[in-house]
Amino acid sequence: MSAREIAGRTALYAVLAAVTVLVCFPLIWAFFTSMKPKEEIFLWPPTLWPETWTLENYRALLEGRDAYFQAGAASGTAVPPSAFFLDWFVNSLIVTTGTTVISTAVSTLAAYSLTRFRFPGQRAVPYLALVGYMVPSIIFVFPMFLVMVEFRLTDTLLSLILGYVCITLPFCMWLMWAFFRGVPIEIEEAALVDGASRLRVFWEIVLPTAWPGIVAAAIFTLIVSWNDYLFGRVFMNSMENLPLTVGVMHFFDGTHVDWGLMMASSVLMTVPMALLFMLLQRHLVAGFGAGAVKG
């Protein structure tokens, strides 16, 4: 390697490292803040590295409502929002899982059907899905709320699941459609010749091959439903039924803002996404590459 190449590489690494630090800094800073006791958080000038490490903020979030009452809080006093954190976390998990299962299942079945059988008007479906994908949730949210009122579903987790299914389905539909269009049909025909029924072919041949597409659709759905704020804000009102995103904004309700608690919940909300990201990074890139920039 020549001296020039080494210099070039070093410069490249330096630029990348600088950008990466800048990009990651808000998250790192959130983590440090969450590990500091209250007094240190308000120190000026701020300490970069926590002088005292504490898990106090996390304990306050994760001990739940029962612990709050057992600690001797008189009934009738307002329960602080942080006591609901665990409920919110569980709500978000349920809603995210439910949405992902329904959205991917519905879109996989329909996309397979659309690419393998003939229907009147089937060529319009991907176009409609694309348009649906671009319609912002703010347009859906109020009429959808009225539909939920009609079905008597407001303030239930099911209403959130259905809402997220509706905003994720168009893109999942499009992704799976593009995916199945690229899967060679000969493999299925070979199985038909081998004597398998259409359902069996779908279950034993198609699904295992479609796995990368399904994973991409599932990741998209997971991200949307874990991250959404708007639907939760409009559909839900009981404290214990909120999803995480709506719940933590209640930390701003009082006059005094507890930044340590806030940053700890930031970290806890990011962890599931970070795990998912580490596990499935390759699929994410492949899926969005295929989906977002047409097949």
């Binding site: 000969e186 081998d194 091959t209």
Partner: protein, 362 residues
């Protein structure tokens, strides 16, 4: 079991692909559907397999009408152009899938798969996934999948087209051998006339959704039924030239480029039209000295050496060139005068209006 097609038609929308076909594939024969791409040969195979529904007509396997049956109910096996191996299953599962679907118990399945794998010499690959196999190995797995089931009919859709030239030559022999061992009726689709010639008992030459000629390789080669078959079969392709029927001292002769050619004995031109299309294969053309009687003079336009043979193209009239395939020892200088002479008994004559070959004397 023989396969019979009765007035079989297929169209995609308003686009007819097969036009009222009547064809019988005799039992245990190896029949090739040969034709250029788009001629309908693959569609015909897919109709026989049940992967497409016919628009009209009937398909019979023996005395059983099958065109309403699903592919899995027809007891056929099929090898696809891409082999269509199941990517998520290993080789053993790929070969055994048809048995598993039919509810054959695991032990019996393993035995049969093992036996087939030994015959095909892929026993050491049983635990591999298809993507870890070479082209030839994939081909064998696809064959194994067909073999293990003991099908009534064996269908192949251009199974050699993804292999390199050398492997293709070996696999041709193996496939033919495989057909004989399997003792089934085989139907083979290809656009490669060499494959059709070397492997088939019968060839159905197809074009534009119609069977142009159905016969043994010898029949199709020696007595093409029309201009399409004559031009499609044979390499290098047959020479064609327009000729006039004239009369020389009361006996009919053919006039080509100002010369006369005696009428081949196999044809009776009494009822023939005045203008005909003459066809002669390059192998049946000789290079003669420019002054030879009966030869047609011209100039050498191009020569190509193709191994032990040499192709010499002679221009005998403006833009009318005749190719001769001769021994490589025959030399010809570019632009030098040369003459071509035809093997009269190997001449073909066609009616240019209908494209059909003239009738031969019995």
């Amino acid at each position: 079991m023989d396969v019979r097609l009765e007035r079989l038609s297929k169209s995609f929308g308003a686009n007819p692909v097969l036009k009222s076909l009547d064809l019988t594939f005799p039992e245990r024969r190896f029949v090739t559907l040969l034709g250029p791409s788009g001629c309908g040969k693959t569609t015909l195979l897919r109709l026989i397999a049940g992967l497409e529904r016919a628009s009209e007509g009937a398909i019979w396997f023996g005395d059983r009408r099958v065109d309403h049956l699903a592919p899995g109910e027809r007891n056929i096996a099929m090898v696809f152009q891409s082999y269509a191996l199941y990517p998520t299953m290993d080789v053993a599962a790929n070969i055994g899938y048809g048995l598993r679907v039919r509810g054959i118990p695991r032990a019996e399945r393993g035995e049969k798969v093992g036996a087939v794998a030994r015959v095909l010499e892929i026993a050491h690959l049983l635990a591999r996934k298809p993507r870890a196999l070479s082209g030839g190995q994939r081909q064998r797995v696809a064959l194994g999948r067909a073999m293990v089931r003991k099908p009534d009919i064996f269908l192949m859709d251009e199974p050699l087209s993804n292999l390199d030239a050398k492997l293709r030559a070996t696999m041709r022999g193996e496939l033919k051998r495989f057909h004989l061992d399997l003792e089934t009726t085989s139907i083979y689709v290809t656009h490669d006339q060499l494959e059709a010639m070397t492997m088939s008992d019968l060839i159905a030459v197809m074009d534009q959704g119609v069977v142009q000629q159905y016969g043994t390789p010898e029949e199709v080669y020696d007595r093409p039924a029309n201009l399409f078959v004559a031009g499609f079969i044979g390499s290098p392709p047959m020479n064609f030239a327009e000729v006039e029927v004239a009369s020389d001292a009361g006996a009919p002769v053919l006039r080509l480029a100002g010369r006369t050619i005696p009428v081949p004995p196999q044809f009776d031109l009494a009822a023939a039209p005045r203008r005909l299309t003459l066809g002669i294969r390059p192998q049946d053309v000789r290079i003669a000295a420019p002054g030879d009687a009966g030869a047609i003079p011209g100039t050498v336009w191009m020569t190509e050496l193709i191994g032990s043979e040499r192709l010499i193209e002679v221009e005998i009239a403006p833009r009318l060139r005749i190719t001769a395939e001769v021994k490589s020892e025959v030399r010809a200088a570019l632009n030098a005068p040369a003459a071509v002479a035809f093997e009269t008994t190997k001449l073909h004559l066609f009616d240019p209006a209908t494209g059909l070959a003239l009738r031969r004397r019995a």
